[in-house]
Symmetry: C2
Subunit: 410 residues, 2 copies
């Protein structure tokens, strides 16, 4: 363990021994250092449902070879190697696909190729992709009011007059603070409703009851990008309602069983069995990379059209920059937007990505044909320095691949 390398869960003695002397604290499992262990063992912490991989053979991924050691990221003016970025930012797993081939695959902190890891809000983008299937077949219309699908939401000040589009693009003018460290913030109550904080009356009523209590702020829906995790759970609820089935089963049938995944995914469920889709997916590194590759390939994988190509286009270039413009995100990606639960950078590569707290990343560069997944267990939910450094490193990796004629002609 060199300087700048955080200790592993095993080095910290977390869940070591039989029985373990030091167990994970349920009140703080998702913060450091307990999350060094917990993010790889979510089913032992909170209730989880299985998102089945189905019965098909896993789709093999070719393994290529690429030396990424020359890649450096800009750390406030000084260059830092990819290796150092990975270590400094509490990486658990890191994989790079180039044209569908694994060109780099690294594991840290006890993780391995068959370990499930929590996606946190990268989950939101998985849900956003699934929504496209329902938009394509007409069962969900983004322009429709939320209450058309969920009449219960007429009781919700925040959502009573919102459309699905507002929810998808996180421009609903709801009263919801995403401040994880403020005990009175809505996101902390949200976590209780998800069942991520142990028992409480909020937990007993569950996620969908909580969604009906969300307040409204005084501006029109649609005007401002306002990131609020509860929006994604509203989408999950709509999916269950229009499909007439549990979210996990829909997700397995329409996406996960068609992807050629090696492993079942897991999905956190609340105390009433409703899926915690805003952040509760657990997948192996390679399986999330398979998902990312499908998104890069216009929604196709395993010789199957999984997500409609029009929906992928909508994610990549259908968004509106205006609600994004007043936010801090615009300082990094002035032409970006948040669309269908994805971040579209608006950069010259057309890169789009998913991101989750504590250092979860899925980065897709359609120009160099690169997909990158990074799983981490950073101590804080939001560490802006680590997030910025990680994003610069992912971008540098993606841009380190030269464009072939094939790529350039696409």
């Amino acid at each position: 363990m060199g300087p700048g390398t955080p200790p592993t869960a095993a080095e910290l003695g977390i869940m070591v021994g039989s029985p373990p002397g030091r167990v994970v604290d349920l009140a703080a499992w998702d913060k450091g250092p307990d999350n060094r262990w917990a993010f790889q063992h979510i089913g032992e912490i909170v209730p989880t449902a299985v998102v089945s991989r189905g019965g098909d053979m896993p789709r093999a991924m070719a393994v290529g070879d690429e030396d990424l050691s020359p890649v450096v990221a800009d750390d406030g003016g000084s260059a830092v190697s990819l290796e150092k970025v990975l270590r400094r930012t509490y990486t658990d797993g890191f994989i790079v696909l180039h044209r569908g081939e694994i060109v780099c695959e690294r594991y840290f902190n006890g993780m391995g190729p068959n370990t499930h890891h929590l996606l946190m809000s990268v989950s939101k983008s998985v849900v956003g992709a699934l929504i496209g299937v329902f938009v394509d077949d007409g069962r969900i219309r983004p322009e429709s009011p939320v209450v058309q699908y969920l009449p219960e939401m007429a009781n919700s000040p925040g959502y009573a007059d919102a459309t699905v589009r507002h929810v998808l693009d996180m421009t609903a003018a709801i009263e919801f603070s995403e401040e994880y460290d403020e005990p009175d913030s809505e996101v902390v109550a949200h976590e209780r409703a998800m069942g991520w904080r142990g028992g409480s009356s909020v937990a007993e009523r569950g996620l969908y009851a909580f969604a009906q209590t969300i307040g409204r702020v005084d501006r029109p829906h649609g005007d401002l990008f306002h990131y609020a995790s509860i929006n994604t759970d509203v989408l999950g609820w709509i999916v269950e309602r229009v499909a007439g089935r549990r979210f996990v089963d829909v997700m397995s049938d329409l996406v996960w069983s068609r992807l050629g995944a090696e492993h079942d995914a897991l999905l956190s469920v609340d105390h009433r069995g409703s899926a915690v889709v805003n952040g509760g997916f657990c997948m192996t590194l390679r399986d999330l990379a398979r998902f990312g590759q499908m998104m890069l390939d216009g929604g196709r994988a395993n010789e199957t059209q999984i997500v409609p190509p029009e929906w992928i286009d909508d994610i990549r270039s259908g968004g509106d920059n205006a609600p994004w413009r007043p936010t801090a995100y615009a300082e990094v990606w002035p032409d970006g937007c948040y669309r269908d639960q994805w971040y579209a950078t608006g950069d010259d590569h057309g890169s789009f990505f998913a991101i989750g707290v504590n250092g979860q990343h899925l980065w897709i560069d359609p120009t160099t044909r690169v997909v990158i997944v990074k799983f981490s267990s950073q101590p804080q939910s939001v560490d802006e320095g680590m997030a910025a450094l990680s994003l610069r490193a992912l971008e540098a990796v993606a841009r380190s691949f030269r464009l072939s004629e094939v790529d350039a002609s696409r």
Copy 2:
């Protein structure tokens, strides 16, 4: 739904709706009717760990064809068809392999080929097979005292002077009543320690602490077959101690990742992360059949020797009939025994089997080369009528296959 066919979870409205109107009662999830749903969704009820299938391709199983409709079982003198037995005994899944080919595969009550189902005490026999790997490499000696591996057990009146052999064969003279319906029985306290009954101080301390409280009865160890679930958890603890790793990881490395399984297995863990090996495995029907086939094939599967053949021989014919003779089991199988966490019938086919409460069965007939798995969600933990009828049906199915010259020469 015909007469004699129990209603499905969906027909009962259990976990139907978004959010569901009727959720599973945590105090009684393993009894009818909630177990109709719960046995297929264990990760949503209790904490579970992943037993990874590894990264290899699943081993395909050929599908043959066999008409089992002429098979009848003896139901107290009258003949009853296999179909009726399956329906009457709350079957969720039923599969028959003959010479490794699937010749019958049936699902009921919402189960499908990719659904995990709780094994209950069939889990014990899975553990018994794993122990053979450690006996073979010398890390576990059946003749050694338990305290050699678990010095903590010097505090346990029940186990302080028992050997691993007593634990393996369930002849330890411990004070442990397996009466599920008696609130003061040890098995009910055991379930609390497993985390299967919600929070309690027993649950907080966990399974291994509970194992140290087990009392002694006044007879020599080894004299009587006395079925007690806690014995298997003692074996799980020994495995963790000698391997220096968590049980789930050992199980994955030595067995599950080598079997060609289609799916990760799940395993219930207690509040301190210790594996509930006496009853907490969840597997798909086909994957448990793959495991059974490996046991039939002398411990080999997927071109790999997984369990040593000597250990399979020990299970099948190494046991002692004397401790079994005074029990009710001897009325059915007079020459039988309980060996290494398996039931050996001592019948003319050399059949051996695993069984779990609420109707879980793994039946292996080495003479006709048949493996049968039956998953069920019977209302009561122990229904002697259903258990007897099921066993007669499994035996009738296994004996319905004629011996080929190949089989006869084995």
